[in-house]
Amino acid sequence: MIKTSDKIIFPIALIVFAAAFVLELCCGSYFISPLEIFLPANEALLQLRLQRAITAFIVGGALAVSGLAYQAVLRNPLAEPYILGISGGAGIGAAIAIVTGLNSLTVFAIPGSAFICALIALSMVLLFARGAGLEYTNNIMLSGIIIGTVCSSILMFIISTIGMDSLNSITWWLLGNLQGADSRLLWMTGISVIAGTGVLFIFGREANAISLGEEMAYNLGVSPQKVIILLLAIASLMAAAAVSLAGIIGFVGLIVPHVLRRLFGAEHRRLFPLGLLGGGIFLMLCDVFSKVIYPEQEIQVGVVTALIGGPFFLWALNRKRRSAV
């Protein structure tokens, strides 16, 4: 852990963010230097890349902050934003919008449908989870896994009955896509994610307390039920908004919180804002990687995060197991 005050960490994080942002603007199917990208001749390209960079930042930030909140509430560093069935629900929503042709009527069809179905899946998870204390948090995770699996099966069923065009659209969406987000939707999601992070920051001390267990939180003067519901609701809305905007991008909510905690400790008033910056930076860098590794045929960013995240997840799991022995 780095022993540094917030006065140093946040300016450094902002500088790294600025560097990653400029890099994201410069990289694409071809590279443009930072000096040239802002020239009037490149305005159209700049607009496209700017939108993509902002999307990457918002989605990455939302997933990382959401992961931090889930891990605190569920008291499990291996929890991630999709553990409560959000990705499965959103996948069905997107598939429905594509199969029914709603996506050709409005740009809001896929995000809207994905968002609603993600919330339905989440509601079912919370409805089925029962118990108190550790039993409750374990039941939430178990219900999430079951609902997520059921959703995946439904999605597979939909996929197996549709034509090639729809199949391509669904697959493209499922692998995560930062391109072409509607600017109105981007604004709405951006504001929601920043506001959500702000609320989580305000409840950062409560998140610290709840991560020690319901009884300890109660002893410290924190209402466990209220805080658990509030944190889960905000984290889930942020994750659902991110999924609606860019599809299912895995592992960001797992990797970034782990790295941040290793570097800066577990204090959530510090971690939530850093999560927004760190998650955004990470996804922008992954996006840069996805653009430059194979310029002729761009790789979806979800593939890149999963390729990094898979081994990381196994490492984290192994580390946790060893520390438990």
Partner: protein, 263 residues
Amino acid sequence: MKTILATDKLDFGYNSTSLLLNNFNFGIAEESFTALIGPNGSGKTTVFNLLTGYLNPLSGSVEFHGKSLKQLSLRKRASMMAVVPQSINSALPYTVYQLVAMGRISRLSRFAILSKDDKTQIEYAMDVMDVTALREQQFNCLSGGEQQRTVIAAALAQEPKVLLLDEPTSSLDLGHGNSLMRLLRQLNRDKKLTIMIISHDIQLAAHYCQRLTLMKDGKIIADGTPDTVIKPEHIMEAYNEPVNIIRDDNGNLLLSPNFTDSK
């Protein structure tokens, strides 16, 4: 002495047909040091959790300074009464300082940062519990004794009037258990802190506490000074185990159980 925390005609059970506590009355006096003792399943932890408000009674009430505990907000309650559970398990890597600072949550508004006074209280609590040198260490990498001291430091940072501890010496060795009890007695005497513990170590409790309350099957079977409670007939009734009670040269009560194969 005035009663600071008391139960009034308390009924408690996980269903109304089989009550664990029936018309249970118990109180602790201001600035006292009390130990709740008794065999496993006697209802000590239930009483403890009712006193902290973590469990709700079926009927009756718990009163703090004559006011129903339910009328106090959680924050207000935590700023007057600190509770140390038997153990806490942190999955996330908090430092000792961060964990002790959590003791200030009930005294801070959501938008506030730690004031000079808050920091002074945190430093004081760490100093009293001798964990200042561990301030940057990860809580979940500490030994059981160090973790226990850290959690008590967080409780002291709450600046409570009453400190309740659930089996504080259960995970500690002889030396650490003894020194913790010595420290608690010091806090009780010097800082006028009202303390109640649950303990399975009757000798330790008898030596350090002013009052012992012996429970069995949800009832108090003996209550008073250690001399009046630690009697062979009380111990036999509570634990169904014959014991010899001896006094050493310093006047300390020592319990000698029957170590033969048959009772």
